[in-house]
């Protein structure tokens, strides 16, 4: 009996370790392959020049700019909306039917495949609102897509702010709004920021929703109504149409490295916050 138990323990431990190694291993392999295949074309020139001949030669400068603009613009829309919703759900209402419906809506929104967002964005923003394939249409579509992440992480961050901070703020004569803006949000800011950074990663890597709404023009977008091509879309087109696998991998490398950096930053930040409250 005892030997059995010890064996089970060891077996479980070993299996769990293997599972963890497997997960990290897959990530390492992906990054490694992309690195090996992409590094040859990856240099400063690649980052700073325009593509030539559909991307067969030259760099990806417009795609980098397009990606940054798209992501920033999405955040400009999604952050106030998402954080606002989270504040409403946590600080300004009690659990009612309405909040349950809102939460259910948010959860459902999170589960929708991104291509559906793309189709919706295409029909609604591009066609119906006559925005055309544009930065704006892309950003609005991504806004809807990343909203659930921002709402949920913000909600968790706000909920984790100890109740006594609110109590002491009220006891000093602060209103609910002052308490929310001056105590709760600053205390929750690192957590909220983590959610935003994770959304950034998601938005940067998105293709399906973007290709339908922002299009894939290789020119440098200079206005909200310009089309553009993000790095993810660029990679997709280069690989799909067999234009240049080398350039595709180099683009992927830039993309993966950026997302990795953002995730590492997010986790580093989260870790710092956790240690602050303990």
């Amino acid at each position: 009996m005892r030997i059995d138990q010890r064996f089970t323990d060891k077996f479980v431990k070993l299996t769990l370790n293997l599972q963890a190694i497997f997960t990290v291993g897959i990530l390492m392999i992906i990054v490694f392959i992309i690195f090996i295949k992409g590094i040859r074309h990856f240099n400063l020139e690649f980052l700073l020049t325009f593509p030539e001949d559909m991307g067969r030669h030259g760099g990806i400068f417009p795609s980098i700019v397009g990606t940054i603009l798209l992501v920033l613009l999405s955040l400009v829309f999604a952050t106030p909306l998402g954080v606002g919703t989270a504040i409403f759900l946590t600080e300004y209402t009690k659990e009612t039917k309405l909040t349950k419906i809102i939460r259910f809506g948010v959860e459902s929104l999170a589960g929708i495949p991104s291509i559906i967002y793309g189709l919706f964005g295409f029909i609604f923003f591009v066609i119906k609102l006559k925005m055309g394939w544009s930065l704006l249409a892309g950003a609005l579509t991504l806004t809807i897509m990343i909203l659930p992440t921002i709402i949920r992480t913000s909600e968790e961050a706000i909920k984790s702010v100890p109740k006594n901070f609110r109590m002491v703020s009220y006891s000093l004569g602060a209103t609910r709004w002052e308490t929310t803006t001056k105590v709760v949000i600053p205390s929750a800011a690192p957590g909220i920021l983590t959610g935003i950074m994770l959304s950034v990663g998601r938005a940067m890597g998105e293709t399906a929703a973007v290709i339908f709404t922002m299009g894939s023009s290789l020119r440098l977008p200079t206005s909200l109504f310009d089309s553009g091509r993000t790095m993810a879309v660029h990679f997709y087109i280069l690989a799909r149409e067999g234009i240049s696998m080398e350039k595709a991998y180099a683009t992927a490398l830039v993309l993966v490295l950026s997302i990795l950096c953002i995730n590492v930053l997010a986790y580093y930040y989260m870790h710092k916050v956790m240690s602050r409250y303990s």
């Binding site: 703020s169 006891s171 004569g173 209103t175 001056k182 205390s187």
Partner: protein, 251 residues
């Protein structure tokens, strides 16, 4: 007759159907320390929270009777103004997760008190000095308040309160999270502060009430059983229940 800073008459409080305070007639004298003692759940913290209307936060609280703050009916005072005049220190030290300095100016900020930088710094200095923290913290105003020791945090919370110049300070078991030496020092601070402020303290520690307070009220199951000078309560209580409690027969 000495002035009452807080006076209640026929004060009743219900949490839903639970009758938490029963016909409390109570007076907190100006510039004195008044202690409320009694076993857990007797309503002493609830009574304390009536005086800055912190009970309003809870749903289903119903209060009847009269509470007067310096002869002014409590419900006629704007709640923000009331909480500025009647400050509160909580059981667990609860500085905000900001720097010491930002904790100190929070009250000024929310009350829209516009000051020059130098005046603001002067207030921070004088309030930290009144809680005997200035010498320790004058070079550390920008460290996080969460890095301080528990005792220093509690002092900081008191100092943070002093910045908005309250008239009455409510302390809800302020030493229960502190070690005996820190407790002793906070008690000394309270005695120091009563020159300028009226203090009402809830404590489960009878020795503490005996040491610091001028007046003591003994509560049991929502009733104020006995109220009087501390020396009288502890040496010759009039009520049998008070005597039983302070001699440790229950509670």
């Amino acid at each position: 007759m000495i002035d009452c800073a807080i006076r209640t008459q026929n004060l009743n409080l219900f949490y839903g159907k639970f009758h938490a305070l029963k016909d409390v007639d109570f007076c907190v004298y100006k510039n004195k320390i008044t202690a409320l003692i009694g076993p857990s759940g007797c309503g002493k913290s609830t009574l304390l929270r009536c005086f800055n209307r912190m009970n309003d936060i809870y749903e289903e609280v119903k209060i009847t009777g009269e509470i007067k703050i310096f002869d002014q009916e409590i419900n006629n005072i704007d709640i923000i103004e009331l909480r500025k005049r009647v400050g509160m220190v909580f059981q667990r030290p609860n500085p905000f997760p900001f720097s010491v300095y930002d904790n100190m100016v929070y009250g000024l900020r929310i009350h829209g008190i516009k000051l020059k930088k130098s005046e603001e710094e002067e207030i921070v200095k004088s309030c930290l000095s009144s809680v005997l923290l200035w010498d320790d913290l004058k070079d550390k105003l920008h460290i996080s308040a969460l890095e301080l020791s528990e005792e220093m945090k509690q002092r900081l919370c008191i100092a943070r309160l002093l910045t908005i110049k309250p008239e009455i300070i409510l302390l809800d078991e302020p030493c229960s999270a502190l070690d005996p030496i820190a407790t002793m020092r906070i008690e000394e601070l309270m005695i120091e502060l009563k020159k300028d402020y009226t203090i009402l303290i809830v404590t489960h520690n009878m020795q503490q009430a005996a040491r610091v307070s001028d007046y003591t009220g003994f509560m049991l199951l929502g009733e104020l059983i006995e109220f009087g000078e501390t020396s009288q309560i502890f040496t010759s209580p009039k009520e049998i229940k008070t005597e039983e409690y302070i001699t440790g027969r229950f509670g």
